[in-house]
């Protein structure tokens, strides 16, 4: 029983990892209606930037803030320079651009920083909370940070005109222009915000899995599954989906199917759920009268 609880808690901790990156995917989807496969590598790259700053002697929180800003700028620049010129190309061409970005960032990071794993500091205490042996303080703290980001995103999209405008752009760019929204900038802004959310995720993930250029490879797939399971338009759903995936994977691996097939079976189950409930837990069913 103790082992079972331990597996569940450890699954929640890993789920928190998926949730944090899933939030970035939801963010970019809200604005562009695309899932950016390079999101994980952008987060990884930003985390390396944070590592450089901290290694150069900067304090954790200043480095954290500066990295979030850097990531935001990176996102905006990528949208303006790389994505903008192919805006009107077929969706698959844009997917291919994402793949290109993924390999470029991965390869360039390996070249600049080498592939040796690096430790990334945690802002949270070293000692586990209440002396428990189940989850580390960092894992709890990371979940806390993810929840904070979640609330911020929710408030942003629900209650600010800018958030509303972004949702509008995703749905109907032409109508958005007709109410005076600068669509181009909204897309760039969306990329920037998604990259910033991703950078936070990266800095929370790196202390757990270590910093290396391939750190996001597996996580991206799980985050993608989590986002869809929760309903790709819902930040809440993404986080819940992350936790569900994390726990599901652990329990399957430890008790049901064994570790070597847990990924396949977990994904199979998620797809099964999506077959029955295509909009995920929190996704809204869109009804339109023709």
């Amino acid at each position: 029983m103790d082992a079972f609880i331990h597996q569940v808690l450890s699954g929640l901790a890993t789920g928190g990892i998926y949730a944090s990156l899933a939030l970035a995917l939801v963010m970019i989807y809200q604005v562009t209606h695309l899932v950016n496969f390079a999101q994980g590598e952008m987060a990884m790259f930003s985390t390396y930037a944070a590592w450089s700053l901290i290694n150069a002697g900067m304090g954790y929180w200043p480095a954290f803030l500066l990295t979030v800003l850097f990531a935001f700028a990176l996102g905006v620049v990528i949208e303006r320079v790389v994505i903008r010129p192919v805006e009107d190309a077929p969706v698959l061409a844009i997917v291919v651009i994402f793949i290109a970005l993924l390999v470029i960032l991965n390869s360039a990071t390996g070249w600049i920083y080498s592939y040796t794993i690096k430790t990334f500091p945690s802002p949270f205490p070293k000692e586990p909370l209440f002396g428990n042996t189940y989850v580390s303080s960092h894992e709890l703290g990371a979940i806390g940070v993810t929840l904070v980001v979640l609330v911020l995103l929710y408030v942003f999209f629900r209650f600010t005109p800018l958030g509303l405008a972004m949702r509008a752009v995703a749905q109907n760019p032409e109508s958005s222009r007709l109410v005076g929204i600068r669509v181009g900038w909204m897309l760039a802004l969306g990329w920037g915000l998604a990259a910033a959310v991703g950078a936070v995720a990266g800095m929370m993930i790196a202390p757990i899995v270590y910093l290396d250029p391939n750190m996001m490879g597996g996580i991206l797939l799980y985050a993608f599954a989590a986002a869809l399971l929760g309903g790709i338009e819902s930040p809440f759903g993404a986080v819940l989906g992350g936790f569900v995936v994390g726990v599901l994977e652990n329990v399957l691996g430890a008790y049901v199917i064994g570790n070597d097939l847990k990924l396949s079976v977990a994904l199979g189950l998620i797809i099964g759920v999506l077959l029955v409930r295509p909009s995920g837990f929190f996704g809204r069913v869109h009804v339109t009268r023709v």
């Binding site: 331990h6 901790a13 890993t14 040796t116 794993i117 757990i208 430890a254 570790n259 070597d260």
Partner: protein, 401 residues
């Protein structure tokens, strides 16, 4: 052959035919008076690109050799291609090396699947596949594959050494194994089982695998703890090995830990895992570890360091792959020196197979390279060592098969 005619005949031959007859010079494709062409594939891109640094180190090393005048007066032309760790690409690139670039032999092609893919081809073509970068045991098979030779101690042997050690020290042993679900992980697992013999079924209480795409191995470590194991055999690559060591400590699991040699670097594994969390870990080694303070003033390691700084400045000094690449390149240098002016493929193989207790100074003291016609496993012995919180402490004899 003591007649006066001999010098004249030699002169005649030199003037008429190839220079090979002069002073026994013999060449196969890829070798000449001025250069030796060597082929290689490495994963510079793709999922295993972390290992690409080995190819870069070797390239840098032969650059240095050339700067210092080459080997026996010949420049080394080291041609290395990216195979992205994909066997079909390895086949393609190796064929390019052999058929188009006309290399004398290929050296240090990396990865068990990749080398398996070209194994038959190389032996059919009779082109040496020298010092392959994998620890599988199948490369030591001179009867069936006389053109293929490994280099590093193989995984199974290493695991058998751990098995022996476990059986000696712990009477009531319950072993939990964490292994990467691929050829490398399974070789270690097999070696351990072979070493334990008929005790294996009882002694191994849990064997859990992970995939390289797994973000963490936390769940696996929790499983191992729950199995009640009192010995932990950690067969992970650096990132996962470090995660496992940290997690085991954090959840209060205190088994005797055996760590596979691939992840024995202090800088790249134990430091990230936490030095205080790594105390007591047992591993084997055959190379000096730059990040181990006991070698801080070792002249060989110093030489390596200055080589790295000059010829491969972007290389990470903590990455033990760079020490590996340097050492294997020096092994090849020795083989080529021995070849002298007889640079045929046959002679390369012959020289590679006739090293007698050759010591290369970045190997641990007591570890030497020995090969023969029926022994194609250059490094067979390893040294056991235990981590004391600061550095590795060697103990026991140098062990081999």
């Amino acid at each position: 052959m003591k007649s006066k005619l001999v010098p004249i005949a030699a002169l005649l031959a030199a003037a008429l035919a190839s220079p090979a007859t002069l002073a026994q010079k013999k060449y196969d494709p890829g070798a000449s008076d001025t250069e030796i062409r060597i082929g290689n594939t490495n994963p510079y891109s793709g999922p295993a690109s972390a290992y690409g640094t080995i190819g870069k180190t070797i390239t840098a090393y032969f650059k240095m050799v050339d700067d210092q005048g080459g080997i026996n007066g010949r420049k080394i032309n080291f041609i290395s291609y990216d195979d992205a760790y994909s066997p079909p690409k390895t086949v393609e690139m190796v064929r390019k090396l052999v058929e188009q670039d006309n290399v004398l032999f290929v050296f240090q092609t990396l990865g068990t699947p990749s080398n398996t893919a070209i194994h038959k081809y190389m032996n059919m073509k009779k082109v040496p596949q020298l010092h392959v970068a994998t620890g599988a045991s199948k490369w030591n098979d001179p009867k069936n594959f006389p053109w293929t030779m490994g280099w590093q101690p193989n995984y199974q042997t290493e695991a058998r050494i751990y098995a022996k050690s476990i059986l000696q020290t712990k009477p009531d042993v319950k072993i939990g194994v964490l292994y990467q679900n691929d050829d490398y992980g399974k070789d270690y697992l097999k070696g351990l089982k072979d070493g334990l013999g008929d005790k294996a079924a009882k002694a191994i209480v849990a064997e859990v695998s992970y995939e390289v795409s797994d973000p963490t191995v936390d769940s696996q470590i929790v499983q191992l703890q729950a199995s009640g194991a009192n010995v932990f055999f950690n067969v992970g690559t650096p990132k996962f090995a470090a995660q496992a060591i940290r997690k085991a400590y954090d959840i209060g699991w205190k088994p005797v830990q055996y760590l596979n040699n691939v992840s024995s670097s202090i800088g790249a594994v134990l430091t990230p895992a936490g030095l205080e969390k790594s105390v007591g870990i047992i591993t084997t080694a055959y190379l000096k570890d730059y990040s181990d303070s006991q070698w801080a003033n070792d002249p060989a390691v110093k030489r390596w360091e200055s080589f790295m700084k000059k010829y491969y400045p972007t290389g990470d000094l903590n990455d033990s792959s760079n020490m590996y690449g340097y050492t294997v390149a020096r092994t090849l240098e020795q083989v080529l020196k021995q070849c002298g002016d007889n640079l045929t493929r046959e002679n390369v193989m012959k020289q590679a197979a006739s090293m007698k207790g050759q010591y290369i100074d970045t190997l641990l003291p007591g570890i030497t390279i020995t090969t023969s016609d029926n022994d194609y496993a250059p490094i067979e012995s390893v040294q056991m060592q235990r981590f004391n919180g600061k550095r590795w402490e060697r103990f026991g004899e140098v062990m081999g098969n």
